[in-house]
């Protein structure tokens, strides 16, 4: 079964055009071509004449849902295209009472995985013309060559263990649902390896990482769980985290950011992906996830639920270590 996004591009444009024309939505959040064929960029269109700029291809990774926050106080609905992972992000915004479901028209996009453009761009295939699903691999044909790329190697990591191939929230769907199985089990072995390091080595590792941070806040701004009206890092009094890039503040910043999304992270990995300094930010979230699974018996902490993991307790079953 083909889950090639490009196959649904025409249908998407038709649907968006119709929705914009009949007034169902007043704008649509989708993708347009970016700087090259590997880097589609988000695009927000409000007029039918812009619709032909919308694209869908196998590199459309960017999670768009956070843009909805720009429209919460406006009248009318926004349309959005959402993959399974994006729909979790949308659920995050909805359960956080930041976005109201009835103000969003979701075009769901069943997804068998998104190709990691950063890896493919290195292969010198030139302008990508066509991507075909070959089951265990994608055939990527560019104007300078073509390659069959094993999914296990060339998809984004999160796509490999994804169990949400089909959007959980959708008003309509592009194409049939795809089989909802993870290509490999989610494993936290890298986290365990880190846990087993002595404190000094952990410290050295994180010092190296956090030293690189430029405090651009791209991680925060792209994160669907970082959806506060006013971010704690922007509040001057009290100042929880200083705005210098001294190591201690960088650490406070990253501790606080990770902590604030603990149990709320939907595991979209966007923070790590957009980080211009390539900080391994998901190593923080995966640590928290792993512990939540173990400590509180919550097998899928990345699925938004009615009660936050840290907003509940089990009086007798929660581990007792502080006696």
């Amino acid at each position: 079964m083909s889950a090639i996004f490009t196959d649904h591009q025409a249908a998407l444009r038709d649907e968006v055009r119709k929705l914009l024309t009949d007034g169902t939505i007043k704008g649509f959040i989708g993708y347009a071509r970016g700087r090259d064929s590997y880097h589609p960029a988000p695009a927000i269109v409000t007029r039918p004449d812009q619709v032909d700029g919308l694209i869908l291809d196998q590199f459309c990774i960017f999670g768009l849902t956070k843009y909805l926050l720009d429209y919460i106080f406006e009248d009318g609905k926004m349309g959005i295209v959402a993959k399974g992972c994006d729909s979790l992000a949308l659920q995050r915004l909805i359960t956080d009472h930041r976005v109201s479901r009835d103000k969003v028209h979701v075009i769901g996009l069943p997804c068998a995985g998104v190709i990691n453009a950063e890896k493919v761009a290195q292969l010198g295939l030139g302008n990508v013309q066509k991507v075909t699903d070959k089951g265990a691999s994608f055939l990527v044909e560019g104007d300078k060559g073509s390659r069959e790329l094993a999914k296990t190697e060339y998809l984004w990591d999160k796509c490999l263990w994804c169990e949400h191939h089909n959007p959980a929230v959708a008003d309509s769907k592009l194409g049939p649902e795809v089989e909802n199985v993870a290509m490999k089990p989610r494993d936290y072995s890298d986290i365990e390896a880190m846990e087993n390091l002595p404190p000094a080595e952990k410290a050295a590792y994180w010092t190296r990482q956090f030293s690189r941070c430029i405090r651009c806040y791209a991680c925060r701004n792209v994160c669907p769980a970082c959806n506060c009206r006013e971010c704690v890092f922007d509040i001057a009094d009290p100042r929880w985290v200083g705005n210098t890039v001294k190591l201690s503040e960088q650490q406070m910043f990253h501790f606080t950011r990770a902590w604030h999304v603990a149990g709320r992270c939907v595991d979209c990995g966007e923070c790590e992906r957009v980080c211009p300094m390539e900080l391994p930010l998901m190593k923080l979230q995966h640590k928290l996830q792993k512990d939540i699974v173990k400590l509180f018996g919550n097998p899928k902490p990345f699925e938004p639920s009615e009660v936050e993991v840290l907003g509940q307790f089990r009086a007798t079953e929660d581990p007792e270590e502080f006696m």
Binding site: H39, Q50, R212, C216, V245
Partner: protein, 344 residues
């Protein structure tokens, strides 16, 4: 005078320099090549297209302590001077060009920024011409090129198995004559000039796509254009573009005091942040992304050339092109604006 230096000698020279000053050079760590302090030449990456961060980090650091004060009943102030000598190696032409643009802002005119001045004086800039411009590079758009030496004290050009070197300033000549003594060899001038010319004429494909000619004038009447509405929608308001940009220079002054000890420092600020222009009253003259996005590009392509005469506040380093999470970058804006205008 053109010279050559063998790679091993270059490494020896850098090792020597690292002993008594801060050596800043491209270095790869966790997959990211950026300019960072290194202990020795062994840590330096010589094979890279451009660094993730620019020379700005060391001439105009992201946060910089300015003065200390004590308020223990009395008030005493101690100025902090960045007196440590530093040498920056491996600067690409775009960064070398950016220093000249920054100089205009921070050193030109009636006042000069004392900290910047000190660092500028204390820093030796060693440039390295570009062998393989990246597909995000567009320095030629602004008239720079892969061999552009700009503010370099010493400029190096990789030439086969050695480097062609040119000392361009007194500081540069001191290096060659001082620590570099015996490591440089005279070069064949004609051959050297040919190498330089080859670098200057190197093809920068993306640069060809982006034509900035006359955009400052077009933008004079573009402030209220619908275009800003359309493109700003996708901005996520992070500071990536401004922080990786070698020419963005906005900053924020802060005092912090505890227990009678205080510190005044400045750190970069970004016009892309929502609270950048937020006033104490809560009012914000740039309340939406539209005003903020417009500000950044107007500043680079219109206000700066208007104020400082001619050059744009961009050197085509391509960092924002590569790193903007949503593909909203200056090259695209230039293309768009000119395209929009053409169709207007």
């Amino acid at each position: 005078m053109l010279m050559t230096i063998a790679p091993d000698n270059l490494k020896n020279l850098l090792d020597k320099l690292a002993r008594d000053r801060l050596l800043v050079a491209p270095s790869m760590e966790d997959g990211v090549t950026r300019l960072k302090p290194v202990h020795s030449a062994a840590e330096i990456a010589f094979d890279y297209s451009n660094t993730a961060t620019s020379i700005k980090d060391f001439l105009f650091p992201q946060s910089e302590d300015l003065l200390r004060f004590v308020t223990d009943g009395t008030l005493s102030i101690e100025e902090i001077k960045p007196e440590r000598a530093q040498v920056a190696f491996g600067l690409r032409p775009c960064d070398l060009a950016s220093v000249a643009l920054m100089d205009k802002v921070l050193l030109g005119g009636e006042f000069s920024d004392a900290h910047y001045q000190t660092r500028r004086n204390n820093t030796l800039l060693i440039g390295l011409a570009c062998e393989n411009p990246a597909d995000t590079c567009f320095c030629t758009t602004y008239g720079y090129n892969p061999g552009w030496a700009g503010a370099a004290d010493v400029m190096l050009y990789k030439d086969g198995d050695k480097y062609l070197a040119e000392a361009l300033t007194d500081k540069g000549r001191e290096l060659v004559g001082g620590p570099g003594e015996g490591l440089f060899k005279p070069a064949d001038e004609a051959a050297g000039e040919a190498v330089k010319k080859a670098y200057a004429e190197k093809d920068v494909p993306f640069g060809k796509e982006v034509d900035v000619q006359g955009i400052d004038k077009i933008l004079d009447g573009f402030f209220y254009d619908q275009y800003w509405d359309d493109i700003s929608k996708k901005c996520i308001g992070c500071g990536t573009c401004t922080y990786v940009c070698p020419t963005c220079h906005c900053f924020l002054l802060t005092d912090e005091a505890r227990g009678g000890q205080g510190l005044r420092f400045r750190c970069w600020d970004s016009c892309m942040f929502a609270n950048y222009t937020k006033m104490a009253s809560g009012a914000n003259p740039r309340p939406t992304k539209k005003e903020r996005v417009r500000q950044r590009f107007m500043h680079k392509l219109n206000y700066y050339p208007n104020r400082y005469g001619g050059s744009y506040l961009c050197t085509g380093c391509g960092r924002c092109v590569a790193m903007c999470p949503v593909g909203l970058h200056i090259a695209g804006v230039i293309k768009d604006v000119k395209g929009v205008k053409a169709h207007a």
